[in-house]
Amino acid sequence: MVDRFRFLWETGRRDLGRVKSRIIRELVKENIDTIQGRTPRVPPHPLLRISSRALLWVSVSLTLVAASYSLSTITEARREMASPTLSSPVAVKAQPPSLGETASANPESSLPAPQPIDRAVLPLGVQKIVLDPGHGGADSGTIAPGGIVEKEITLDIGHRLRRLLEKAAFDVAMTRKTDKAVSLKDRVGFANAVRGDLFVSIHINWIKTRKTRGVETYYLGPTDDPYLTQLTAMENKESGYSLTDYRGLLEAIYMDVRNNESRRLASAVQTSLFRSLRTINPKVKNRGVKKAPFIVLVGTRMPAILAEVSCLSNKREARLLARPDYRQRIAEALFGAIHSYADSLTRTHQKGA
């Protein structure tokens, strides 16, 4: 009996030793990948497994092409040094991802540590972005049955988005950085006071039909949809505006010249969110770009949108929202859209110049 126990114990230890060795190997490999600036290795797709001879030919050809390209680039660069222009910012800004390709890209692992760029050298129309994480303090927003609270998720996504934007050299101001109550009036006042170029309000949706999931993005406009009227009333709760203020604000809605820009930004955000999230949330619905008179869209003086980035009423999406990687994905999608929109403005300015 004692021998049997000893045998089992020794077998168990041997197995554990094997598991430990395997884990250490994988851990070391992961750390070496980080040192060398590579993303963690994954087995290659069978179609990509080409013979070493073919690989050699491909690399020789690429080297030749690269060499000829480098020579022409050097010549170009010298020519440019002789007559300096302001065309370089486009090259500087080549790094951030474009719409829809933000999902798994991890610039940290493939590039050297990011260096702050002086935004003053970039002649962009968009420099300062005001982020508005919805709700806060006593106003929790919606709460999923598992205890996930809208105000916390919006703040977390807000901070993630802030980090991405700051890394890309945008100035970012947040209407709240902590769990505190800020009235809608104060949010609007803050955005106008800091003279933001864009205003992005982040919210999580709650839809009566629990099975519904998806993303939708709003810009300012009238609505006669009963669902939107109800949602607007809910989000406009505790706005801090008086009835007179509200009437004045509403009068400004339809003559708002920035609305076209808001619509473009909303469209970029909606496309980016949907494209990015459906890769890990295949049943996500594209609920579209919509118009509604949310207070934060009415009072702000810059292009402004409100994004409902998921549905807390849907059990599956609530679970996804509990995952940091999903929230990071949302932040990256918003970042991709904002960046793409800002780039499009730059291109327009350059064409016009």
Binding site: V19, L27, V28, T34, G37, E108, H159, E166, A322, D325
Partner: protein, 343 residues
């Protein structure tokens, strides 16, 4: 110094609130993760040092620009001060085990540093940059993984490491955990402190206290369920020290952490292959400073009861579980691997 062949292996748990170090020479230490620089020349003259670390920094905080480098489980990107604070903290920890970081005198230091899982995911490259030169060779791992390795809970186990800034979850399936096996929540110790401060302020609007005082009260008396004794603390009201009964506030603040943790635990469990779910349910281990809330393990175990039962236990030595795990990894990694990991 007692080292093997001129090599010292070190495991470090770089936490949001406390950091611990375990070394192969038998030294083990824990410090508060605070780093402070004197705010002006007067403060520097009084303190007689350019930088203070740990409790000393906390105690002299009025004279310091105080940093908690991994607040919310992350190094703040682009914040040079936070990167410097991480370096200072590590230098301090390494000096505590008897190594002079400036002059190692031929001694080779191999370190495994455990960080909050979120920092590892988001700040991996900047962490390595911040840690350059601190040791000869370096591995960075997630804290719950280091704990799992240290207690040899590598198969069919879930580790829930509840620290100050984050609660990190990791399911071990006999292989190196992928991102899908891990989760991070920001509902952790700091969150309880904020809730507790808010509740106390609501009940005693005139009481004067700081978040540091609230943190100390929580560390002394946190509980879930029925209290064994009333929680009574002293704080000034109008300058006069006054006793405040905060029993209900303490319970409510501690309870606020349970739903998100339970939800994430159940969610992670539901993603495991069905035949292994029961094994993992019976092998849930709590680690980290904030897991020491009296009654938390029992509470989570009751929740698992609804899923067919399970067992939640506390790691034996929550303060050093992470750094001891890091040390085990450091000692188990072959020398040939360490050569490839030089900083």
């Amino acid at each position: 110094m007692n080292t093997e062949n001129g090599i010292l292996h070190i495991g470090i748990d770089l936490g949001t609130s406390r950091s611990s170090v375990s070394a192969s020479n038998g030294e083990r230490h824990v410090v508060e993760s605070y780093v402070g620089w004197p705010v002006d020349m007067v403060a520097q003259k009084l303190l007689k040092r350019p930088v203070l670390v740990g409790r000393e920094a906390l105690e002299n905080r009025p004279m310091l620009s105080l940093h908690r480098p991994l607040e919310q489980g992350l190094i703040q990107e682009g914040s040079e001060r936070d990167q410097m604070a991480v370096r200072e903290l590590l230098r301090h920890l390494i000096s505590l085990v008897g190594v002079n970081p400036e002059d190692r005198d031929g001694l080779k230091v191999r370190a495994v540093i455990g960080v909050p899982a979120e920092a590892l995911r988001v700040n991996k490259q900047s962490l390595r940059n911040a840690l350059k030169g601190i040791a000869d060779s370096l591995m960075i791992v997630s804290e719950p993984f280091a704990v799992a390795y240290g207690i040899e809970a590598l198969r069919y186990t879930m580790i829930i490491d509840i620290g100050a800034g984050t609660a990190d979850f990791c399911v071990m399936k006999g292989r190196f955990p992928t991102e899908d096996d891990q989760r991070t929540l920001t509902n952790a110790g700091d969150w309880i402190d904020e809730q507790l401060a808010k509740l106390i302020r609501e009940r005693y609007p005139d009481a004067q206290f700081t978040i540091h005082m609230v943190r100390e009260w929580k560390e002394k008396s946190s509980f879930l369920g029925e209290p064994t004794l009333p929680v009574v603390v002293t704080a000034p009201i109008g300058g006069k020290p006054t006793q405040l009964d905060i029993t209900n506030e303490m319970r409510n603040a501690c309870e606020s952490i349970v739903p998100p943790i339970a939800e994430t635990m159940v969610d992670l469990l539901s993603r495991v292959e069905p035949e292994y779910q029961e094994k993992i349910r019976n092998n849930v281990t709590l680690a980290g400073g904030s897991s020491q809330i009296t009654g938390l393990a029992k509470h989570l175990q009751n929740i698992l009861g609804d899923l067919g039962g399970g067992r939640v236990r506390m790691v034996k030595d929550p303060v050093f579980a992470g750094s001891d795990g890091g040390l085990s990894i450091a000692l188990d990694a072959p020398s040939s691997d360490w050569h490839m990991l030089s900083t």
